[in-house]
């Protein structure tokens, strides 16, 4: 059959790499304004760390929307829950936290992360069955129901853990900074960045190298066809939702240690940042989410240094700018 040999050989698929340069461009633009190299390094490191944390929180949100058109305004509850779980792990093991031994500290962090994954994953399952299932396919009701769910969850957290802010100090060997020349990079930020990178690499490998990952990527594009190929997309989605909740929990742990405090209201505030990130990145795209998070965090840190009161406004402007350039985000997925 001569079908396609109709002239053109298929051009090399163009990798859409332009958005990857965006964070570099932003960094390059900000550098001269910041002036001192040491400040620049510190701010950039801070931005990268923050971006990694927000990425962890937002990745589940974007996958859930990409796959099943489910917009969960209650996602912040998973973040807060993760943070509270961290306090439950750190308090009895305070001696591990106070020991100035990084293997022990790392073990403690790993334990807290594991606990957050389990608790938030389970809570995600409950949330999906109770709150989301009745309102599949109805956006307005989803928004309302999940907001209601988030209010109830936040109040439940206050009822269980008390309404006050709980302090949470990072383990001893993670405090302080690495000093490189003039620049100081907080040790904890490095740890958070590493954890975030592990999550990103793990997520990317899982999506690209496993059969389930293949199903998820296909489901984000066309869930009906995946079902028609013989797969229970609804069960797949529950798994994705739970994973998203678990990831949010990880983000919550990291953020709580970063800010050194835990309070149920943090989920709601971080959720707004997550929305900005997934709008920028494109709904359904993990890669877009990653770049979006780094971009937003860099802008937040640079603007925070240059014009502190305008930091959040700067992020809104970033979001608007990206939407003007690509109305569906950097890497929109599927036909939506």
């Amino acid at each position: 059959m001569t079908a396609s040999d109709f002239g053109a050989a298929l051009p090399r698929p163009k990798r859409d790499l332009l958005p990857i340069f965006a964070p570099l461009i932003v960094a390059a633009i900000a550098a001269p304004f910041i002036g001192s190299a040491s400040s620049f390094v510190t701010l950039t490191a801070a931005g990268v760390a923050m971006g990694m944390m927000i990425f962890t929180m937002a990745s589940g949100l974007t996958l859930a929307f990409g796959m099943m058109d489910v917009l969960n305004f209650g996602h912040g509850a998973f973040i807060s829950l993760g943070a509270y779980v961290a306090t439950l792990v750190f308090t009895p093991l305070a001696s591990w936290a106070q020991a100035d031994s990084w293997p022990l500290n790392l073990a403690l962090l790993a334990l807290a992360l594991a606990a957050a994954v389990v608790v938030c994953g389970l809570f995600g399952l409950v949330f999906e069955r109770l709150v989301i299932v009745p309102v599949y396919g109805q956006h307005l009701k989803q928004i309302l129901a999940t907001i209601g769910g988030s209010i109830v969850a936040e109040q439940l957290l206050y009822a269980l853990f008390g309404p006050d802010v709980i302090a949470l100090a990072p383990p001893a060997s993670f405090r302080g900074s690495f000093v490189i020349g003039d620049a100081a990079i907080e040790k904890y930020r490095v740890v958070a960045t590493l954890v975030g990178l592990v999550v990103f690499v793990g997520l990317t490998l899982a999506l690209n190298r496993t059969r389930i990952g293949l199903l998820i990527r296909a489901g984000v594009q066309d869930r009906e066809m995946v079902e028609a190929l013989g797969y229970r997309i609804d069960r797949l989605f529950v798994g994705v939702f739970m994973a998203g909740a678990a990831l949010a929990g990880i983000g919550g742990v990291l953020w709580a240690l970063y800010r050194q405090q835990v309070h149920a209201s943090m989920g709601g505030e971080l959720l707004v940042l997550c929305f900005i990130v997934i709008i920028i990145g494109g709904l359904g795209s993990v890669g877009g989410c990653f770049i979006g998070a780094i971009l937003m965090a860099l802008i937040d840190n640079y603007a925070g240094f240059l014009a502190p009161k305008l930091a959040l406004v700067a992020n809104i402007l970033l979001m608007v700018a990206i939407l003007l350039w690509r109305p569906r985000g950097l890497y929109p997925v599927g036909g939506r």
Partner: protein, 240 residues
């Protein structure tokens, strides 16, 4: 392996539209049945209902001995039904290889089967690792059909495979369908292109207004120009 498809009094409502209004349809096992009709007659809805993507409001659908009406689409697929939609529904961000991998539920891709597919779709071999979204319309159609045959199935539902394709490619697709027939699958094909229908189909069923208005062997139907004109609203021998 192959099986007879039988629809009995099937109704489908979409919203408040009553699309299928009592479809009695059968596709004999191992043969190719063409589903023809004017635009809007309900042919796509019929296929989608069989596939379980729309739920029938009334009636029974049986594949061989088992009833498949009311099952989820994934269950129907696992009963051995493959679907090639009108929109092709190729996963654009996945490679050709990944598209086929998804369709191969039993495990890794069968090498012999793949070679057979490459036999009539050599292009797929060339673009094996390319993003499916960057392929042309005809190439995407190949991917879509390849997905349906990458493993043996009892029933193939194909919706307008030649729609929008250049004549040269249509010829190739006819060869492909004949090749699939040769290995003995049951096919139900919706087709607007009568030349294709005539060459490939053993049986013909014509739909109008959500019902089957004619059923019989293709050979007879192809001879009866008056009948064709009446049911399909076109005079055929001038075309294609």
């Amino acid at each position: 392996m192959t099986a007879r498809l039988a629809l009995d009094g099937v109704h489908t409502h979409i919203g408040r539209y009553h699309i299928l209004q009592g479809v009695d349809f059968d596709a004999p096992a191992g043969a190719t049945t063409m589903l023809l009709g004017r635009n809007g007659a309900g042919k796509t809805t019929c296929l989608r209902t069989i596939m379980g993507l729309w739920r029938p409001s009334r009636g029974r659908i049986a594949l061989g001995d088992s009833a498949i009406s009311g099952l989820r689409a994934s269950a129907i697929a696992r009963a051995g039904v493959a679907y090639v939609p009108e929109t092709m529904a190729v996963f654009a961000d996945l490679t050709v290889r990944e598209n086929l991998l998804l369709a191969a539920r039993e495990g890794p891709l069968d090498e012999a089967r793949l070679q057979w597919i490459f036999g009539f779709f050599p292009t797929l071999k060339r673009f094996w690792l390319s993003r499916a979204g960057s392929l042309s319309g005809g190439q995407k159609q190949m991917v879509s059909i390849a997905r349906a045959i990458v493993e043996p199935r009892r029933l193939l539902l194909i919706d307008e495979p030649t729609k929008g394709l250049a004549p040269a490619i249509v010829g190739g697709l006819i060869d492909c369908l004949k090749e699939i027939k040769r290995i003995g699958a049951t096919l139900v094909v919706v087709e607007q292109n009568f030349r294709v229908a005539r060459e490939v189909g053993d049986w013909v069923r014509v739909m109008d207004n959500g019902r089957i208005v004619h059923a019989g062997p293709m050979a007879e139907f192809a001879e009866d120009a008056a009948l064709q004109a009446r049911l399909l609203g076109l005079s055929l021998d001038g075309r294609q």
